[in-house]
């Protein structure tokens, strides 16, 4: 028998704390596969953020730093400047990256910091129990938008990829989704490109991954993926918003 699919060796052999069906696990696996395929396990340094993925360092068998809420891009900057040969990535959720850490992510992009950012957008605060996120959809109910997000008082969802695509310093900005195998495969290619860019010294790369939170959305994992497809995709179109070509 020939192996078709095996567990990546950059993942530690532990059970994650994520809820059943949580796409964080998928995203972790894609990042680990990328690290394996690029042969960079020994020189990769991850930066964990605050959110459900706060313990990401337990799941990747690489050096890690745990950053304060929203500050992962600044921490990654510090690491990368000291050890430019390390491959540095941050792994951040939407509360961390798009709310409290908006300044850090924008300015890391502005500086063209040669790092890779994996950004999980599931339109809700998972860790703290399902509050409204900056990416929560209009009308979406959360514990702090119990009547549905009302743009009159709560504004509109922030589109991180579109926003960062306007930043000249950003080399690669793309949005993918984790709701089915075909999209997962595309996301993998995007993540790989984002790491490859760093190896080649091309500068700031960010992949936004649309994800679910079945627990806080109150759905089965399968229904959550369906909800993502039906509700998030129209608001968050997929694609590469900046590819660095022609620069």
């Amino acid at each position: 028998m020939i192996p078709v699919y095996t567990r990546p060796k950059s993942l530690t052999n532990v059970v994650t704390h994520y809820c059943p069906g949580c796409p964080h696990g998928i995203a972790h696996r894609l990042v680990a596969e990328t690290i394996d395929e690029l042969g960079i396990q020994g020189k990769t340094v991850g930066v964990a953020s605050v959110g459900c993925s706060v313990f990401a360092y337990n799941y990747f068998d690489v050096d890690f730093q745990q950053a304060a809420h929203g500050r992962a891009p600044a921490v990654a900057t510090g690491i990368k400047r000291v050890t430019p040969d390390s491959i540095v990535f941050t792994y951040q959720g939407d509360g961390d990256l798009a709310s409290i850490g908006m300044a850090e992510i924008v300015h890391a992009a502005v500086r063209g910091e040669n790092i890779t950012v994996v950004f999980i957008n599931n339109a809700i605060y998972g860790m703290t129990g399902g509050q409204m996120a900056p990416t929560t959809l209009v009308g979406q109910k959360t514990t702090t938008s119990p009547f549905g997000r009302d743009p009159k008082t709560q504004g509109y969802p922030v589109k991180v990829s579109e926003l960062l695509a306007t930043v000249k310093g950003a080399h690669y900005v793309a949005r993918f989704s984790l709701h089915n195998p075909a999209n997962i495969q595309r996301a993998k290619q995007g993540i790989k490109k984002a790491f490859q860019n760093q190896i080649e010294g091309k500068g700031f790369s960010l992949v936004e991954l649309l994800s679910t939170c079945s627990t806080n959305w109150g759905m089965t994992p399968q229904n959550a993926l369906k909800w993502l497809e039906e509700n998030m995709l129209p608001e968050y179109p997929l694609g590469e918003f900046k590819t660095g070509e022609g620069e």
Binding site: P20, R29, P181, Q222, L225
Partner: protein
């Protein structure tokens, strides 16, 4: 007989994403609980030869539970 698809059942959280995606509908949940208290997913020995090694289940699995092989 060598298996095409193998589950690390102790890591499974029975989210059933693999169950839903399998084109051959051969992935089932066990009635027994694993160490974490979940009914782990599995493919029975008799269904192993129905597996087409497409690995969609492995791609979907959030817990990297599934290994897939194909005959030479």
């Amino acid at each position: 007989m060598e298996k095409r698809v193998v589950f690390n059942e102790d890591h499974c959280k029975s989210c059933e994403l693999c169950v839903g995606i399998c084109p051959k509908k051969i992935i089932k949940l066990r009635t027994e609980l694993n160490r974490q208290g979940y009914h782990p997913a599995f493919v029975s020995d008799e269904d192993q030869d129905k597996c087409i090694s497409c690995a969609l289940c492995a791609r979907m699995c959030p817990d990297a539970v599934i290994e897939v092989r194909r005959p030479q």
